[in-house]
Amino acid sequence: MSLFDVAFYVLAFITVGSAIVVVSSRNIIYSAFALLFTFFGVAGLYVLLNADFIAVTQVLIYVGGILVLIIFGVMLTTKVFDVPVKTETLHVGPAIVVTGAIMGTLFGVILKTKWFDILNVQWDGTTKKIGERLMTDFLLPFEVASVVLLVALLGAVIIARRERVKS
């Protein structure tokens, strides 16, 4: 059991454990915070996978952006002080069955499959390479993504804008 393995298991534990908390916690605030740990765990896993740029991006965007956004959403839509921020669940039974089924299926598939050509490449740093490829092969998706982001920004603003003319 190498250090790599140990690190993996630790990170896997953090990720899965916190994800379970996200899913199972009744309090939405707890879920949000547990999600923070999940994101960190995932970022760690990225590091293990030699994906330094992605790991950083993960932390920056998910933790710094999305999670903050989610917490804002929670804050804005939940009367934190009056009413318990507990959320209700519905059809838990079918959900467990279905998710169990899908998880079992995925596990079966993953374990049964003979994964060919295990390379296990080690990169020295991916940032530069990613940048190059973004500017060459993936230029169009890159630009489209920027447009999408812009539109999403505008859309979000318009949708969430408070209508003043309302009586």
């Binding site: 519905l90 059809h91 279905v98 998710t99 089924a101 899908i102 299926t105």
Partner: protein, 694 residues
């Protein structure tokens, strides 16, 4: 003057009255002067002049018949027939020439008389138009050379008679009489037409000459020939008011009196006799016997009825029927010339009688009008009497006519009647049908009796209604002149120099009995020429019968006159007592032998009944079946509809229900919650995964 000119004149004479009709019917009432009466009268007078020209030319210069034909319709060549065509035309022989004169003379006089009589009538112009139309049709009958146009004009005469009888159509009785006249005539015409059909089918022609020639060749003989003869005579039965179709003529007196004179006394009713004379050659012995009996029966029935009638015109009407029966009887019994002679003389004096009665009625009418009496019948002889003083001209002319019709010497009637009776006498003797001369002589007496009864009651004695009598005046000149002319025409010298010898008259001289074309075995034996003998048995008998018949008829007439005077003038015999003594007979006669009632209750009611039944049958049975089948169809479709509703629709509904059930189930899944759908999606993905990869 050649034949063609004569034909041309004949056509002109035929068309002149028609021209008058056309002018008057379109422009008469408003445009023409005096509503056109003068025009029409003038045209008929023109016709009269032409007729005289034709008449004298014909009998003086043309011994043979003049005929003109034209092809009217051509059917081309026809299988089993040959060249099928219908030729029409005009035939002028002595018979038609004489008749032409008779018709135009009477017609002209009636026209003139009408100017006075019909004055102030509402439909004055139309009246003259119809008179013109009648004259045209009557001349058509006279001049035609074939059965077809004979029938055509026959019917046209019927129509003009219909229109004239119904001239005062506001009166129900007038329009009823007109209708009756036409329909009864149609019955006779039906027989006539069937006869024509037989002739056409067997002889392929309508032309008189060709028909007779064909019969002579034996193309039509036996029972069919007799049938054809009798059926053609049926036309005469209708038009000449012979028994059993005589019922229309008395009713026809509803028309204006001059019309009665022209149509229902002198000309149209004589057309039947004329037709019989025309077709005389084709009459077989059986047909002739039939004709003779019809004539005799008619003469007898009508004479008996005439005795009891009180309406001046009805008496004359029955007398007309009786005289027509006489003529028919004469023709049937072989006295061809006598029959026709009587037609001619009768035309004059009967027209005169009617016009005379018209003059009386006219006077009565005006008198009643003066005293504002609108209920008294101006035609009833029981209201008259003593008119002799007030209307002398009318009286004396009327007297002459009465003498003529009674067959008193010095009148034309004596000449013709005597010949008829002689013929009947000979016929009765030879054929054994003694009833015919017996009836003949008896009716001669009756005729004298009822005619003098009429004369005495009307003109002699004391006036029965003084108030009316006060206002009676002699008729105007325009009415009196025709009376005088007709009276002159009723005297012997018009016809022949000897007042006692009919054979010396021009009628006997120029009109000859046509040779019969009937096969010998179908003729009377006594009519057949014998070898070595110049005259037939019949002619011989006729000659022998002359003097006895003359004496006997004179005796009968004298008796009749005597009784009339005894009863009505001198009051020796009370008419009422006699009537009461013979009550049933009197009632029977008074009611005209109940013919009208008989026909009404049999033929008319039966026809109406059948027609009602036909209507009922149509509505209830045929339409019942139609509607019934429609209902059945509806019922069937209704049950099909039920079936549809319950069974087929049931199935459909079941299907729909099942679908709905599944839909309901599915709807349960479809709860509108996104997350539920996501479960389905994921589940489906798993299932699909296992399906494709499992």
């Amino acid at each position: 003057m050649n034949q063609n000119t004569l034909i041309l004149l004949a056509i002109l004479a035929l068309l002149l009255p028609f021209l008058g009709f056309v002018l008057l019917i379109f422009w008469g009432r408003k445009r023409l002067p005096r509503q056109g009466d003068v025009i029409e009268t003038g045209l008929v007078l023109g016709s009269l002049v032409l007729s005289f020209i034709i008449f004298f030319n014909k009998i003086l210069y043309f011994p043979n018949p003049i005929e003109w034909k034209f092809e009217w319709v051509n059917f081309g060549f026809v299988e089993n027939w040959g060249e099928m065509k219908i030729t029409l035309g005009i035939l002028i022989d002595n018979l038609s020439a004489t008749m032409l004169v008779v018709v135009t003379v009477v017609s002209s006089l009636v026209h003139i008389f009408s100017i006075g009589y019909m004055k102030d009538d509402v439909r004055y112009s139309r009246y003259f138009a119809y008179l013109g139309f009648f004259t045209f049709s009557m001349l058509g009958i006279v001049l035609t050379n074939n059965f077809f146009t004979m029938y055509v004009f026959w019917e046209l005469v019927g129509v003009s008679s219909y229109l004239l009888i119904g001239h005062w159509y506001e009166k129900k009785s007038a329009s009823d009489a007109a209708k009756k006249a036409f329909i009864v005539n149609r019955v006779g015409d039906f027989g006539f037409f069937v006869g024509i059909m037989i002739i056409w089918a067997s002889l392929k022609t309508f032309n008189f000459g060709e028909v007779f020639a064909g019969i002579e060749q034996g193309k039509l003989s036996g029972g069919l020939l007799t049938a054809a003869g009798i059926l053609v005579f049926c036309g005469a039965i209708g038009k000449s008011a012979q028994f059993p179709l005589h019922v229309w003529l008395p009713d026809a007196m509803e028309g204006p009196t001059p019309v009665s004179a022209l149509i229902h006394a002198a000309t149209m009713v004589a057309a039947g006799v004329y037709l019989t004379a025309r077709t005389y050659a084709m009459m077989s012995a059986d047909a002739l016997t039939f004709i003779a009996y019809i004539g005799a029966v008619t003469a007898f029935i009508a004479a008996t009825i005439a005795i009891t009638q009180t309406d001046i015109k009805r008496v004359l009407a029955y007398s007309t029927i009786s005289q027509l029966g006489y003529m028919t009887m004469a023709l049937g019994s072989g006295a061809y010339v006598a029959g026709f002679f009587h037609l001619v003389t009768h035309a004059a004096f009967k027209a005169g009688l009617f016009l005379g009665s018209g003059s009386v009625i006219h006077a009565m009418h005006h008198a009643l009008h003066k005293i504002h009496d609108h209920h008294t019948d101006p035609q009833d002889i029981r209201n008259m009497g003593g008119l002799k003083k007030k209307m002398p001209i009318t009286y004396y002319t009327f007297l002459i006519y009465t003498l003529a019709i009674s067959g008193i010497p010095l009148t034309s009637g004596f000449l013709s009647k005597d010949s008829i009776l002689a013929g009947a006498f000979a016929f009765g003797k030879l054929s054994g049908h003694t009833a015919i001369p017996l009836i003949g002589f008896f009716v001669a007496g009756l005729t004298a009796f009822y005619m003098f009864r009429l004369l005495i009651l009307t003109f002699h004695g004391e006036p029965k209604r003084k108030d009316i009598f006060e206002h009676i005046h002699e008729s105007p000149k325009v009415m009196v002149v025709p009376l005088i002319i007709l009276a002159v025409l009723s005297l012997w010298f018009i016809f022949g120099p000897n007042p006692f010898d009919a054979s010396a008259t021009w009628v006997e001289k120029y009109i000859h009995k046509p040779e019969s074309v009937v096969p010998h075995e179908q003729q009377f034996e006594f009519n057949l020429p014998k070898e070595g003998v110049l005259v037939t048995e019949y002619e011989h008998a006729l000659h022998e019968a002359h003097i006895p018949a003359m004496l006997l008829s004179l005796g009968m007439a004298g008796l009749g006159i005597l009784f009339a005077f005894l009863t009505y003038q001198w009051g020796k015999i009370s008419a009422e007592k006699v009537a009461n003594a013979l009550k049933p007979v009197y009632t029977f006669l008074k009611n005209k032998w109940y013919f009208d009632e008989l026909y009404q209750n049999t033929f008319v009611l039966a026809t109406l009944g059948i027609s009602k039944f036909a209507r009922w049958f149509d509505i209830k049975v045929i339409d019942g079946i139609v509607d019934g089948s429609a209902h059945l169809t509806k019922l069937w479709s209704f049950s099909v509809g039920k079936f549809d509703w319950n069974i087929i629709d049931g199935l459909v509904n079941l299907l729909a229900y099942i679908t709905g059930f599944f839909g309901y189930i599915t709807r349960l899944l479809q709860n509108g919650k996104v997350q539920t759908y996501i479960i389905y999606v994921v589940f489906a993905v798993i299932v699909l995964f296992y399906i494709f990869l499992g």
